[in-house]
Structures are given as structure tokens and as C-alpha cells.
Amino acid sequence: MTYNQPNNQGFYGQFGGQFVPETLMTAVKELEVAYEDSKKDPVFQAELKELLKDYVGRENPLYFAKRLTEYAGGAKIYLKREDLNHTGAHKINNALGQVLLAKKMGKNKVIAETGAGQHGVATATAAALFGMECTIYMGEEDVKRQSLNVFRMELLGAKVHSVTDGSRVLKDAVNAALRAWVAQVEDTHYVMGSVLGPHPFPQIVRDYQAIIGQEARAQFLEKENKLPDALVACVGGGSNSMGLFYPFVNDESVEMYGVEAAGLGIDTPHHAATITKGRPGVLHGTLMDVLQDENGQILEAFSISAGLDYPGIGPEHSYFNAVGRAKYVDITDEEALEGFKILSRTEGIIPALESSHAIAYAVKLAKELGSEKTMIVCLSGRGDKDVVQVKERLEAEKEVK
């Protein structure tokens, strides 16, 4: 049966929906209409396509990682090189699409939340390109650990609002951005950065990121003359993974692995393993798996990687998990750091800490699958932004020893 989610109320099975205050209902409904119109608008589609080609640099390569494959000693590992995009990650695919959509809707201001800063940089970039006013909400903790990205956003003309509520990370930045959107909904578009939030955001972000999987699928077929056996991608909110997975959803032979951040370990309170340790709940406008206590209070997530540090996961991932279409696995901070080093040394590619989770799992999985099998790993971003953080951590570890 052909996959056909979400339904017309924005649900993926039991997950999804539009759990937002009435003040935002008109805006999300307008967005549904504008988005559907844009899909049928050849001018809009042509403009987006041209930008993705000439501005982002698509299509990006599907690269056979020979030395990484040898290191892992098993399945052939291909990397989808989202790290080579303009601004250094997959986030630009969605940001450009949504800013173009905002322009079409006649909105002249955009706001966005950001964790690691990649989505903030991507939104600030797209806003600069279209001459739109841009404010980025970022948790104070993330402002500290990703100071270089803060400076980038400011260079691009965006205002960075440091959020000092709650645990001062991505979840709190989303709260602040939602509140800001309520207050200026009439002239402002909220550029949601992941497959999260009220319908139609999870669908819009999925569709704009689906170019990852569309290209990868065609490139893989051309190189190997068959489909891959497995797909591997890291999952915070889940946009790069959904972008890779979605175009393969009807290819039943292709297994999908979403890699969650296990932080210090899933048996500690310090992780972001939403599927493994959470349960269905409502946060930020959608019904999805959420890390929460027995009373439904949302728990703080934890990961070395700011981009995975979120206590929820996109509703379509919750659905994929519930129906068994994708498997969700965990990689700890330590394992991710190892992945970071391995890819740097075997391939000369420094991955983002987020993507390092996918690399670390891919190495494990490649061994399990054996040399007859193949896989595509989404290298969602490059590691320049993380180099200082990793340096400090490795130096601190050395001192302890």
C-alpha cells in the first residue's frame, strides 16, 4: 500500500495534530492553504529548485566512504554529503523553502528557534537573501556552547535572542519562539526547524528535506544498480533523518535506523533518547513521544550535541516507530566523539557532533550486516562549529588522565 500520511487533520496514526492556542490557529490554517498552493505553483517550485542548485550547491554527492567501510569491516557505507551544502548542514533546504513560502504569504518577518545554531544560521541566511527581518531564539546554554554560530547569525543581520527560561536549551527556545509568534502572528512566519510543531510544520519540513532522500535514492541506484539495505541518520527533532527516510518509505526492503542521543547513557537521567525512554504526550503543538515524568511534566534532555538536545521527536518518527517502519537506536556522547574522530581520520571529513552519532552507529551496524550489504548514512552537517567544544573536552580528558 502506498504511504499516505498525514491525514487531513495532520495526524500520522495517533501522532501529530495542532495542539496550539487559538491565537495561532488561523496562522497554521493559513499556512496549510499557502503550502498546498505553493506545491501547485510552478513559479514557486522553479524558484526553489534554482536556489537549491545555484545557492545551496545541490545536488550534493553521495560518497562511497571506502576507508570508513574498511575500518568498520562490513557493509559498504555511503555518505550523503549534506555537510557540503551552503551554511554547512541540511537545515538550509528547509529554511529556504519556508522563507520563500513566507514571502509568498506576504509576511515580512521571520522568527526561528535554534539548538546547535545550524537552523538559526540557515534561517538568517535565507532571510538575508530575501531582505527579511529575522529574529532567532536560542537557549542561553546553547548561546554559550555555540558562540561561533551566534556570531554568524549576527553577521547575517539576524537578531539573536538569548532565552533564559527553563533549562535554557532548545526546548526553551521553542517555547520563546512560539510565544513571540503569538504576539506578532499577523506579519511574521515561524520557520520551524525540524519535523515538529503543529500541522502542517512536520509535513512541510519533511517535504523540504525529502530532497536528501530523493537525490540519495537516485544516486545510489545509479552507482549500485539496486536499493541500499539500510539508511542511518541521527534524530533530535528528526529532520535530516525524515528527509532521508521519507523517499524510501514504500521501499519495504530498505531498513531505517534513527540514531538518538544517549548522552551519558539511557540508564542515567542525562540523555535525549526520546523513543527509547519517552512516551506519547503533547508538547509544542504536537502529539509525539516525549521525555516526561509520571505527571506529564516535560523533562530536560541532555546530549553533547546541542542539535539533538530535545525531549521530543517528530510525530512521523513516533508513527514510524509505532508501526515498525524504522528502528530507533542510541549512541552515547563517548561513542559519538569516537565517531567524530574516526570519520576525521579515515575520510578527512570532520562531521558535526549530531552526525557523529549516525557515524558511530553506522560502524556498529556495518559489522552486523556484513560485507554483502550496503547503507546510506546522512552526514547532516560539518563539524567546524564543534571543533572548539571537542578540543576543550579532549584536553580536559587528557588532564584527568
Binding site: P21, A183, H284
Partner: protein, 253 residues
């Protein structure tokens, strides 16, 4: 007619204060005392807030009150237990985000309300589109699901929201969170008048109301006011007598 609507339809100048359950130096043990104080001052109904970790519709005053309550281990389940032993003639209205109720279990939640004075529910992140999560459980009970109508709600949708509404209509007076920094829009009074004409159910105005001038203004164009952040702040600062005076004045406009 359900109790909540009957009580509010009887009079003009309804005053509905909001309090955060458990935001009291004695935690939930202080809840009864606060409810009695607000009842005696002349409240028409009392909103009981349930703390939530991520209150996206609330401003800093109510968010902080929620965090104080959570720090005292207040939960929906404990609030329901406390309400069982509280007797009041004033209908109580629970204001909660959806997740605590969803985790408690909707059927269990509604069942637990039966032995309390709770006559209404306000769930800001449960729009009309998703009311089926709650409505089937309360249809035959003396409990109303209060709809919110915002300034961004077009007239066509306002009509849909009020058509089978019960209790009262919560008119959100600003595009923003509870409490406010800026002045109300000039078109607000007209919006409230128009909304009131769409329905026989009382329309109460809330969000950002902090002065008697505001109260007087909105009593003219709606059936009364809901006051949250100001009450929460004053109670937190132990200004009970200010709260009583404010309510006594407000109901006389």
C-alpha cells in the same frame, strides 16, 4: 443549563480570578484558604491553574508561579485530591495544558472532578479541532469546556466556536501571552461587542487585565473579566487585602 453558565448568566460585571494551585507558602494546603478569600470578596467563578513545565500561552508571572508550584511537587493528581475536600458555592474552573490531563487519563480525570466543585475546564492548547479528546466524557456531566476566542479568530470561525459552546466564552484580549506589556488594541472593544452579539453565552475578557480602568472598560462590552497575572503576583507578595479590595471595586463597576 450547566451550573457554570447559570452562575455567570445571572449577573453583569462577573469577576473571575486565576490562581496557580500550590503557589502558596503552604503549597496545596493553602488552596482552600485562597479559594475562600476569593469567594468572599465576590468572585463569580475561580480559575484554578495547573502547573506545567512548558506553559507557552503564559507570560513570566504565571510561568514563575507554575515553577514555584512544581518545586513543591504539585501535580494534577494532588490538586484533584485537595479539591475533593474544598467546599465552595463558587464554581471552579480548571485551567490546564493538555499534557498533564492526557497523562492522567481523560476518563479518570473527568471522573475525579465529580466529587469537587469544578464546573469548567479551560485547555489553551486544545483547539476546537481536537475537542473530541474531552467532549464525549463531559457531555452528560455538569462540566463545561470553555472555548477561547482570539483577536485573530475570523468572524466565520468565531461563529463555529460559539455555536455549541457551554459555560462562557473566553475572549483573549491580546495577541500574546498572559500578562501584558503594551496597550490594548483600539479595535478590541468593537471585537468584544461583535463577539457578544454572536451568542447568548456570557463573554468574559481576559489576558493582561491589571487595573480597575481595564475592568471598567471591559465590563461595558462584555459580561465580565478574568484576571490572572495581577492576582497571582499580589497573592505571592502576600497582598491579600489588595486583592480583596480590587475585586470588591471591580464587581461594582
Amino acid at each position: 443549563m450547566k451550573t457554570l453558565q447559570a452562575k455567570l448568566s445571572n449577573k453583569k460585571n462577573n469577576f473571575v480570578p486565576y490562581i496557580m494551585a500550590g503557589d502558596h507558602e503552604r503549597g496545596l494546603e493553602g488552596l482552600n484558604e485562597t479559594i475562600q478569600l476569593l469567594e468572599q470578596a465576590g468572585s463569580s467563578a475561580i480559575e484554578i491553574g495547573v502547573p506545567f513545565s512548558d506553559p507557552v500561552a503564559d507570560g513570566p508571572v504565571i510561568e514563575q508561579a507554575g515553577l514555584r508550584a512544581l518545586a513543591k511537587n504539585v501535580s494534577l493528581s494532588k490538586i484533584l485530591d485537595s479539591l475533593k475536600s474544598i467546599e465552595t458555592e463558587v464554581p471552579l474552573v480548571i485551567m490546564t495544558y493538555f499534557n498533564p490531563v492526557y497523562q492522567f487519563g481523560i476518563e479518570n480525570f473527568v471522573a475525579a472532578l465529580e466529587s469537587t466543585a469544578v464546573k469548567g475546564l479551560i485547555i489553551p492548547d486544545l483547539p476546537k479541532e481536537h475537542e473530541a479528546y474531552i467532549k464525549p466524557f463531559i457531555t452528560d456531566k455538569d462540566i463545561c469546556l470553555v472555548p477561547l476566542v482570539s483577536l485573530t479568530t475570523p468572524i466565520s470561525r468565531q461563529k463555529e466556536l460559539v455555536v455549541d459552546a457551554e459555560g462562557f466564552i473566553y475572549a483573549v484580549a491580546i495577541n500574546g501571552v498572559t500578562g501584558k506589556e503594551n496597550a490594548y488594541s483600539n479595535q478590541l472593544d468593537h471585537h468584544l461587542e461583535t463577539l457578544s452579539k454572536l451568542t447568548d453565552i456570557p463573554v468574559l475578557t481576559g489576558f493582561g487585565i491589571s487595573t480597575l480602568t481595564d475592568v471598567e472598560r471591559f465590563n461595558k462590552v462584555s459580561a465580565g473579566v478574568i484576571v490572572g497575572s495581577k492576582i497571582v503576583r499580589d497573592l505571592h507578595e502576600n497582598k491579600e487585602s489588595d486583592v480583596i479590595k480590587f475585586i470588591e471595586n471591580a464587581i461594582n463597576f
